[in-house]
């Protein structure tokens, strides 16, 4: 296997100046995404990479947005689109003290305050364009086409202001630390921005995950540029936008704690970090307490952590749901017992990455550490949604900014393909079949899924096996949907969950193994800086 970028990086470490001109004449990496960036590799057209990638990202996101969204024309409850719209309705029309209390049966607000402020801002802007969109009570379940366009625009703008700059900075800094050539950095950036899962959930299904992920990623950007206090600030913002960012919290905590004890114990740093977190949280919750009264904070926290709900809602490819065909957890155990079991198993699952990060608080381990920790949560924690797979998936994809060898590309693209597949039941319900098919195939093709497999025989086996299983499931569903298997409509969902669970387990193990190997690598070699 010839790896041009590795060759380049080897040469670069020897004589950095000469390689610059050499890297331009490199052949394109053997996958189509790299081929598209090939014309832009010369020094005179390097400046084009970022604007062109941004424009292409915008175009694809917007084109996905032309399609349906969750709950479109689906009374009585509609879906996540209505939830987001409804929050704009209540935050613009009601006093702060009613935000977390108002008619909780109809998509009551159950996200932290930053989402509430974000909704209010967007609601105010939208109300200036058309007040009917967010009229109290009257606007419920609105399917206005102009409203859809407005909401799509807000999702795009929110992503462009948070997630996209965070990714751009990340690739720049992380790629530099990993000695990637400019061309490879462009390819990595394209691969991350064109990731189909986030695109279809935020701009198809409709949510603002990119804001939460963007803040979390900005935190990582700060950590890898040694701004640990700013990093904690941004991570708190991420948590206060969507509680799901908690999937990353143990890993980040372990990393920061590790920084406070390595190479020697640094108490002021620990105190300052704690203070940053507390002050940021206070700032975020302050408006809620000031305008709504102190009990709002308690109600907000009560709404945000839904322990009253079950182990899972829809079918999701995690441990509990996948093994449910063997053990009927929800029937055999009570909710409290299951909560404890989930807490224990999650803690065990996230322990290895946290320990690795604590003992090796190295920047280059951050993406893998976050991914491993989030996979642990996804597999074992309480109330997991199929969309939550974005949390482990995004940092896993970020690994591309560190190495673009065929093996990594193959694994990362495989995980994205499987993750797309795991969301198929949700996307089908949303009426996004076309977008699902196009984005999955496009990304798989762009990343060379059809051409390259991992080096190891086990990887080859898993990839080929899972692709065949996915294909068979889709074909069987398409052709037997109305046939003899009509009486078992859940069959496809169960098959989906089992296949995805198997793949996610392998993905999780791969991330853990990779994290372990990376953490050992640093020990043998002396530090590069």
């Amino acid at each position: 296997m010839s790896l041009p970028q590795q060759g380049a990086s080897k040469q670069r470490t020897k004589k950095p100046k000469a390689t610059r001109s050499v890297s331009f004449s490199l052949p394109a990496l053997p996958f189509p995404l790299a081929s598209f960036l090939h014309p832009l590799r010369s020094a005179s057209s390097q400046w084009l990479v970022l604007p062109v990638l941004l424009m292409v990202s915008i175009l694809f996101r917007w084109a996905v947005g032309l399609g349906s969204y969750s709950g479109m024309a689906a009374p009585p409850m509609h879906g996540d689109f209505e939830a987001q719209r409804h929050w704009m309705e209540i935050t613009t029309n009601l006093p702060t003290k009613e935000w977390y209390w108002h008619d909780l049966e109809w998509w009551g607000l159950d996200y932290p305050p930053l989402t509430a402020y974000h909704s209010r801002l967007l609601g105010v802007i939208g109300g200036m364009i058309n007040p009917d969109w967010f009229a109290l009570f009257d606007s419920r379940g609105s399917d206005d086409v102009a409203l859809k366009t407005f909401m799509r625009a807000t999702a795009l703008a929110s992503e462009l202001l948070t997630y996209v700059p965070a990714v751009v900075i990340f690739v720049r800094v992380f790629g530099r630390q990993a000695d990637l050539s400019k061309y490879d950095k462009g390819v990595a950036l394209a691969a991350i921005l064109m990731q189909p899962t986030l695109m279809i959930i935020d701009h198809g299904h409709f949510q603002y995950n990119s804001v939460m992920l963007g803040f979390a990623l900005l935190a990582v950007d700060c950590f890898i540029t040694d701004h640990i206090y700013w990093g904690s600030f941004f991570f708190v913002l991420s948590l206060s936008f969507k509680q799901m960012a908690l999937y990353y919290a143990p890993a980040i905590f372990a990393y920061l704690l590790g920084l406070c004890v390595h190479p020697n114990i640094n108490v002021p740093r620990l105190v300052l970090l704690g203070a940053t977190v507390i002050v940021t949280f206070s700032l975020v919750f302050a408006p809620l307490a000031v305008f709504g009264g102190r009990e709002q904070v308690a109600q907000c926290l009560f709404r945000v952590f839904p322990f009253a709900r079950g182990l899972w809602e829809d079918k999701v490819a995690n441990f509990w749901c996948a093994t449910n065909i063997l053990v009927k957890f929800r029937e055999r155990f009570d909710s409290g017992m299951l909560q404890k079991a989930s807490l224990v198993t999650t803690s065990v699952a996230i322990l290895p990455p946290c320990l690795i990060l604590f003992f090796n608080p190295q920047k280059r381990l951050l993406p893998l550490g976050l991914a491993a920790c989030a996979w642990g949560f996804f597999m074992f924690s309480f109330q997991v949604h199929e969309k939550s797979v974005l949390l482990p998936l995004v940092p896993t994809t970020l690994v591309l900014a560190g190495s673009l060898d065929k093996n990594t590309v193959s694994w990362v693209s495989w995980m994205n393909n499987v993750a797309m597949f795991s969301m198929w039941p949700l996307l089908r319900r949303d009426g996004l079949q076309l977008q699902y098919t196009v984005l999955t195939l496009l990304y798989a093709w762009l990343m060379g899924t059809f051409e390259h497999l991992p080096k190891h025989w086990f990887g080859k086996l898993v990839h080929v096996g899972s692709y065949i299983a996915i294909l068979v499931t889709h074909l069987a569903e398409a052709f037997f949907f109305k046939g003899p298997l009509r009486e078992y409509p859940d069959l496809w969902v169960v098959a989906n969950v089992e296949i995805s669970f198997g793949c996610f387990t392998v993905a999780w193990m791969w991330v853990l193994w990779r994290l372990w190997k990376e953490s050992r690598k640093g020990r043998k070699k002396p530090k590069r800086e």
Binding site: P27, A28, P30, P32, S35, F36, H38, P39, S42, S44, S45, L48, P51, V52, M55, V56, I58, L59, F60, W62, A63, V64, G65, L66, G67, S68, V145, A146, K148, T149, R152, L434, Q435, V438, L439, L441, L442, W445, L446
Partner: protein
């Protein structure tokens, strides 16, 4: 592995993915037009094709296109037979949309084939430029806006045109170039505008020898018989049934006005603009103002345009002007019948008919952009003339899509295309000595491109905020006048290059 990256194949895959995502996008009445034609050709005997008028969108393309719809309709019945019912007006089930949109993408593969042929037949030294040009045509915002959103079948028609132009490159294949063009005319008669260049070129370079008195009779007979055969195959049955007058009245509806709905960016757009300005200035200059015209031009939408101050324009005048400018380029082609002069003459015929023609559609700009693209990388001066056309030609298509969700698609796609290809062309084109570069044109181009930004912002955002629904004609008028300046500017530049070289 392909020689140049990204390859044509890679681009068509990525573009196809994007176009598939555009399935739910806005579609114009042309969608219903083509659905209706599918229904007509599928359910009625051939004799009635040009008489059927249940829908207002009657069949007004030549017989080959009708036959093409007939072929498509045989596939369409497997998607949704209901779309093939003539009385099913405005029918657009999901299957119908999928089928029609897919048919555009599928037939566009002919364009890909033609472009591949164009690259293959280019001399080795200019293969890289040819590749860039081919990609620019394949990914052109023109085809994206007109074919894949607005809805038409230009992709495969321009594929035939490019194939025909490519064949004209080698002397041995010129016969087939002529045949293909004749067939193209039987698909869509708008290409008649380019016919004079073909006529002169084939006559001079294929039918006559080195001296004009040396007639190659064998060639004359081959070409003549072939073309007559093709045209007879298309029109013969209808002539035989005595439907000629009906067919002609459908193909050439002369009752339409000078300017089409949105004012194509041509001389008449500038003419109307000056007329509007004169309405304000005329009383001070003591010029007579036609009061009737005051209301008509301001609408600026469909219908007849009457001028308030400037003299009226008749179809006859536009025809003579078009012919005059076409003949100028044909004289040059007659004296110098090479492939490149031919390509230049085709471009100039397109320019003349677009700039001076009667009832020109903004979509017809592709008649200029596509042939010019093939020449744009000849040297830096050609590229200089191409730039304003690339900007103006595509900006002028924006009013075709007026719905909010498509705004981002059309603007961002066009800007991305312009940025990528104009810089790529700039890097590829062979430099020219400084003194032969015309700085005036370069400066003009720069200024022109910069003005596009506030213009697009005004027409699509600020106008609505400032005036609401009033003065609807203003953004359209600004848009077409601006684009007209660009098209005319590039035409002047191109004429100079063509006649001075």
């Amino acid at each position: 592995m392909d020689k140049f990256h990204p390859s044509l194949r890679e681009c068509i895959i990525a573009a196809t993915a994007f176009k598939l995502l555009l399935f739910p996008a806005y579609k114009s009445t042309d969608f219903e037009v083509h659905r209706n034609w599918l229904a007509i050709t599928h359910s009625l005997p051939v004799k009635e094709w040009y008489y059927e008028k249940t829908s207002e969108w009657t069949l007004d393309y030549p017989p080959f296109f009708a036959a093409f719809e007939w072929v498509l309709s045989h596939v369409a019945q497997f998607f949704d037979p209901a779309m093939l019912d003539v009385r099913n007006l405005e029918y657009d089930s999901v299957q119908t949309v999928y089928f029609q949109r897919l048919s555009v993408m599928f037939t566009e593969l002919l364009l890909v084939y033609a472009l591949q042929k164009f690259i293959n037949t280019s001399p080795e030294s200019s293969k890289r430029s040819a590749h860039a040009v081919a990609l620019s045509i394949l990914l052109s915002p023109g085809f994206l806006i007109i074919d894949h959103i607005h809805f038409q079948y230009n992709g495969f028609l321009y594929g035939i045109l490019i194939l025909s132009i490519t064949l004209a490159r080698s002397p041995s294949a010129r016969l087939y170039s002529g045949f293909l063009f004749a067939a193209l005319l039987c698909f869509k008669h708008i290409y008649l505008y380019l016919a004079p260049a073909y006529f002169v070129f084939l006559l001079r370079a294929y039918c006559l020898g080195d001296s004009i008195f040396q007639i190659r009779f064998a060639n004359v007979i081959k070409l003549g018989a072939g073309i007559i055969g093709i045209v007879a195959a298309a029109f013969g049955p209808f002539v035989y049934w005595g439907q000629t007058p009906q067919l002609l009245s459908r193909l050439f509806p002369f009752s339409r006005g000078l300017c089409h709905a949105y004012w194509a960016p041509n001389i008449w757009a500038i003419y109307s603009f000056i007329d509007r300005v004169l309405i304000i200035v005329a009383p001070r200059l003591g010029l007579p103002v036609n009061q009737e015209a005051l209301t008509s031009v301001t609408r600026g939408l469909v219908g007849d345009t009457t001028f308030a101050v400037l003299p009226e324009i008749t179809p006859r005048k536009t025809f003579l002007l078009t012919l005059f400018f076409q003949i100028l380029s044909l004289i040059k082609l007659w004296t110098n019948p090479t492939y490149e002069t031919f390509l230049g003459a085709v471009t100039l015929c397109g320019y003349a008919s677009f700039l001076f023609g009667w009832h020109v559609h903004e979509k017809a700009i592709l008649l200029v952009v596509v042939p010019f693209s093939l020449l744009a990388l000849k040297d830096r001066r050609y590229l200089g003339a191409f730039r304003p056309l690339a900007v103006a030609g595509h900006v002028s298509l924006f009013p075709l899509l007026f719905t909010a969700p498509e705004f981002l698609i059309k603007t961002v796609y066009t800007i991305a295309w312009l940025v990528v290809f104009l810089t790529a062309f700039d890097a590829l084109v062979s430099p020219v000595a400084v003194n032969t570069r015309r700085f005036l044109l370069d400066r003009f181009t720069m200024l022109f491109i910069i003005i596009a930004i506030p213009l697009i912002a005004y027409t699509s955002l600020f106008h609505k905020a400032l005036f609401g629904d009033r003065y609807e004609f203003l953004p359209l008028m600004f848009n077409s006048s601006y684009s007209a300046v660009g098209v005319v500017g590039s035409w002047v530049g191109f004429c100079w290059l063509f006649f001075s070289s």
